[in-house]
């Protein structure tokens, strides 16, 4: 091959993919960004103007304030629960015999490949007023509590959907940990709990950090679970966008909410990555 042809080779090879992404991703996203500055009129429809009023509406209306605050709350609570449940579980799996581990790992990460709608339906059945959770509570003499259409229910279901991502990344980090450090700590008389918090968790930190980022960004952009378990009243950013686009047809306002959500998530991803790179540069080498 001539040198020029060889130098152009990577571009020829990736050209079909670049074309698809330019036409099917870059242009639609730009159009949506532009749409967020347009005006919607009930009689005249969408008008191509350049106005910031959709963004001003979002910034000044307490209705949107509540929606974004709830989105953030779901993200933080789900992430915290995923750490509390996922990190010990990843460590327990790590200490299991490989036979058992393979089976349980399949049971934990397998559900990632089952539709979120199906998994959420399971939670809707479990948490419903006559659901299994309430039946169990009644038989134990506890009061009947409604979990469906509550923030608590959404967080429990969201954690179920997303905790496998935390386990996967903590698991990957533990694979790189040195098992001898645990033995050393044990031989020096450390208790199981001390070993877990002082030896295991610090070595799992890179995994916890990347798992946290994945769980948080997926929790704040989740749609099916808050829509089914939360219902119409407990709106989050994604369900608000859905309503603007498919019910009230105020597309420009919906596009503006989407841009705020997108900017928020990208900002968090980028600044979080910066922080991790600065702090744990040597860990990732």
């Amino acid at each position: 091959m001539s040198p020029i042809l060889r130098r152009a080779a990577p571009y020829w090879l990736s050209l079909p993919g670049i074309t698809l992404f330019a036409v099917m991703l870059f242009i639609p996203l730009l159009m949506t960004a532009a749409l967020s500055f347009y005006t919607f009129d009930f009689y005249r429809g969408i008008e191509p103007t350049f106005s910031l009023h959709n963004y001003i509406d979002i910034a000044t209306d307490s209705y949107f304030y509540e929606i974004f605050l709830r989105t953030l709350w779901y993200g933080l609570a789900t992430t915290a629960l995923a750490v509390i449940l996922g990190v010990p579980e990843a460590y327990i799996l790590y200490r299991m015999r490989s036979r058992w581990r393979a089976i349980f790992l399949l049971a934990i990460i397998g559900p990632l490949l089952i539709s979120v709608v199906v998994r959420t339906l399971g939670w809707a059945i479990l948490l419903g007023n006559n659901g299994l959770v309430n039946q169990a509570m009644t038989s134990l003499g506890l009061p009947n509590i409604s979990f469906i259409y509550t923030e608590f229910g959404v967080i429990v279901a969201l954690t179920h959907v997303l905790v496998p991502f935390m386990i996967v990344s903590v698991w990957a980090a533990l694979q790189k940990a040195d098992p001898l450090t645990e033995k050393a700590a044990a031989s020096l008389g450390a208790s199981q709990l001390t070993i877990f918090f002082r030896i295991v968790v610090p070595q799992a930190i890179p995994g916890i950090l990347s798992g946290t980022l994945i769980v948080f960004s997926l929790a704040t952009s989740a749609f099916a679970t808050p829509a089914i378990i939360g219902g119409r009243r407990l709106k989050v950013a994604t369900t608000a966008i859905y309503d603007e686009f498919l019910n009230t047809l105020e597309w420009p306002l919906g596009a503006a909410i989407a841009m705020v959500l997108l900017a928020g998530i990208l900002l968090i991803i980028v600044s979080y990555n910066r922080l991790i790179e600065r702090r744990y540069a040597q860990v990732f080498q």
Partner: protein, 265 residues
Amino acid sequence: MSRNGPLALLFHALFILYMVAPIAVVVWVAFTPLGYLQVPTREWSLRWFHAIIENQEFISSFWISLGVGIASASFALLLGVPAALAIARYRFPGRGLLIAAFLSPLMIPSVVLGIAFLRFFTQINFTGTVMGLVLAHAVFVMPFVLRLALSSVTGMDRSAEHAAVSLGASHFRAFRRVTLPMIMPGLLGGWVLAFITSFDELTMTIFISSPSTTTLPVRLFNHITQTTTPIVASVSALIIFLSIAAIVFLDRIYGLDRLLIGERQ
């Protein structure tokens, strides 16, 4: 290695219960003879599985999801493999940008992708087409295909390929007869993962599917939010059975941990 203590095993048992319970309860409810979503205790019935057959709409949605999944995974693979070769084997200006662009659908919330495609398709009069669904899904599943293709291309030993070329095979022939068979397991794993991702996708698709191109997750979601008939449970149970088959298949051909976690250490 020290064993897990009784407390750790109790935690583990409760955690596994938490993970499995919502999936098991769906399968359980699917066999109810009642007209609402309630677990059957005395009587079992296949009534709601019969309802799927009588009610054709879920079956037609299944075929649409299957077609869109196969087409978009294949199309993404067709465009993704050459791009993965370029990224893995060359250092060129714009390489980092290219990787970021191809992986970006993972970072953009699906709802944003959904409205972007809806806006785009309305502007170019392309709404409600199966072709539109396939192209949108191809973008959406590209990161999965690219990641697995990249890891197989970077992980492979190139000496066989160099031998083929030095023995007079053309570059294309060397690729087809030597490289391709070597990276095949990774590509197959990427294809299956892309197919499942497309088949399960709801949040983006709900914006761009029309009444005649409603995919299975969208049909299911609309039913769940509008009705309480157990047909949603029987359809979900069938999806669960299919997913388990796919999971076991993926585990056999590629290894589930490697597929989702990355290279085995």
